[in-house]
């Protein structure tokens, strides 16, 4: 029983990381309709920059991360200007552009930092842990979980209770009509690119702290986060978080009880494919009803 509870706790902690990254994806998608395939690797790249700054200046980790957040804001803005504003296109084309960006950041990080990877990223919170159901949850994991819940809640509130949220929902419903009604879509798009890049940086720093800093560190996390976002319906932060939790628990349970690591990934993709098929069918039937 202890093993099962510990497995569930471990899976939940892992799943919250997936959920957090899924939230970063949805922040952009809900606002602009762009699925940013480079989201995780942008975070990875920025984390390397923070790591470089920490190494070069010997400043406290917190200050390094604060500089990283500023860099993430700048990066989000630059990506928006280069990818979107330089040559506007429909969301599908913009999503495809991010695939190129993903390959670029992966190759660049490998070129610059790959030869000495992996690296240990300095701890961001004191090296303490809490025992839950026989499993020791690290302070970093708790911070990640709280951050995920806070971001999900904050974005939920923003979307439902504020004027900005109303404008975003209006844009999501019909971008052209929103523009005609005077909504400053460019400003909201810019904000979305910046916010999602900052969240991606935070997730990447947490992953680097919990595992290693390396050009390939976000691979397994991004695929699971992508699955979580899809399963969550692409329009629900809470749905993505719950889906991430479910994926984490499934993977952890598979690893503990089946002893086949390859099956963890296979299960994740089966769940993703199943979710996509179900969503497609339900979407079509809903449209037919309408």
């Amino acid at each position: 029983m202890t093993t099962l509870l510990a497995t569930l706790v471990n899976g939940a902690v892992l799943g919250l990381m997936y959920g957090l990254l899924a939230i970063a994806l949805l922040l952009l998608f809900q606002t602009t309709g762009v699925l940013n395939f480079a989201q995780a690797d942008v975070g990875m790249f920025l984390t390397f920059l923070v790591f470089g700054i920490l190494g070069a200046t010997q400043i406290a980790t917190g200050w390094g991360i604060a500089i990283g957040v500023l860099l993430a804001c700048a990066m989000g803005l630059v990506l928006y200007l280069l990818l979107v504003r330089s040559r506007p296109a429909i969301a599908l084309d913009l999503s495809l552009r991010t695939l190129g960006l993903f390959l670029l950041f992966a190759a660049l990080a490998e070129k610059v930092w790959g030869s000495d990877a992996p690296y240990r990223f300095p701890a961001i919170v004191p090296d303490r842990s809490v025992i839950i159901a026989g499993y020791s949850v690290l302070a970093t994991q708790i911070v990640a979980a709280v951050f995920a819940l806070v971001v999900a809640g904050a974005v939920g509130l923003l979307m439902r209770r504020t004027r900005v949220g109303l404008l975003i929902r209006a844009m999501r419903s019909d971008r052209e009509i929103a523009m005609d009604l005077g909504v400053n879509v460019d400003a909201i798009d810019t904000l979305a690119w910046i916010a999602s890049t900052v969240v991606a940086l935070v997730v990447a720093i947490m992953v680097a702290t919990l595992t290693f800093l390396s050009p390939t560190m976000m691979g397994p996390f991004f695929l699971a986060a992508f699955a979580a976002a899809m399963l969550g319906g692409l329009h629900s932060m809470v749905g993505a978080l719950v889906a991430g939790l479910a994926l984490g628990v499934v993977q952890s349970t598979t690893a503990v009880y089946l002893n086949e690591p390859s099956w963890s990934q296979i299960f994740a993709f089966l769940i993703l494919l199943g979710g996509l098929i179900i969503r497609e069918r339900s979407g079509q039937s809903m449209t037919a009803r309408l």
Binding site: L92, V256, S262
Partner: protein, 421 residues
Amino acid sequence: MRSIGTRQSLTRAVAIGLLVLLTAACGADSEETSTTLSSDQTAPGDDSTVPDDGQASDVPGVTDSSIKIGMTASITGAFPLAGEQFSGWYERTVDQINAAGGINGRTIELTILDDGSEGDVALSNAQRLVRDDEVFAMTTVGTATTAGILPFLESEGVPLLFPAAFFPELIDPPKDNAFALFPLYDAQLTTVIEWAFGEFGPGSAVIVRAEVPAFDAPVTAAEALIPELGGEHLQTINTSFGEADWGSVIIRLQDLQPDYVVMMTSAPDQGRLFQEMSNQGYAPGTAVLGASTLVDQAFLDAAGEVPDGTIYGAVAGTLVQTAPEADECRELWPEEPMGPYGLNGCASAEVMAEALRQLGDDVTREGLTQLLDSAFGPFELPYTGVIESADNHLLNKGIGIATITGGEFVAATDEVIQSDG
């Protein structure tokens, strides 16, 4: 209609995206290396080349004044440390030999090419070294890359001398042209288990391995040996390279409560596992055991603080790199902290030079392979076991045992243990 169109577009985007991501994930290694590597990129070894103004002979790569040796090494890419260290110390050992007058009046002309752990680059490097540069013999760093170029070298009849590569097919069955100096993972793992059971007593053991073919033979050998020595093999836990979820492994270890945890995966992954063990307050009853990947600085860098006497790893072919007997090698590159692959580089170059010395003036590929096949040694370096010709072409069956004391690797045994090879 608009809704369906949007959904279909989105579905297409998702499908294309997943395809690209999957392709990138599956080919992560090759992509990593292809961006950073070129077969023209050379390691510092290129600086050691000596102008060849001697009289050419019929033997490729041999003149009256020089002998050409080529190396393809994983200096960048997935496992850069091994290539950097092996090639770096190999080159400096060759420099030292040349500075002392070379071998029977000939200097060694060394060309090192970087393959970045990339199979196709390694093969193209080997083809360039053999066909364009006409090297006399080759050595390599990298298990997968060496396995890939071995058939080519065999077909060309080029001697492959003492590579830093650990795969059974290198010596099983023995190849006419290939000679190994470093015992493979199965010998390493069984030797460290046998040593630990003798030192601390037999006990229950769980093996934590990466699910890759290269580790099948050592894991199978360890699973068979543990009960033979009076221990109990509780389970083998499968993991991936770059495992993201070490928590699940710890949960199972806590459940199984073994006396020994035997690790067989990459050095950084073993470090992460050890770090997670520390995070979870878990330690096996007696010790953590492993092959040469456990005695690697990359393990120590990843593991953080390792209490004294908790881990014991096998060192392939030599004593641990920090042993006083290895000073002579370490001092060749004082500014660089030497790992096991650095010492391997020294040993490989020294034994290559000794074999050429024993050939005398008549340096031919046939002469070299005949010598190494049946008439070489016994020969010993201060930090190796006995090196001599063997039926399976593994010339050195020695294995050192290392542990960590005060955050540094130290020898757990005074002498190199002779394994079954």
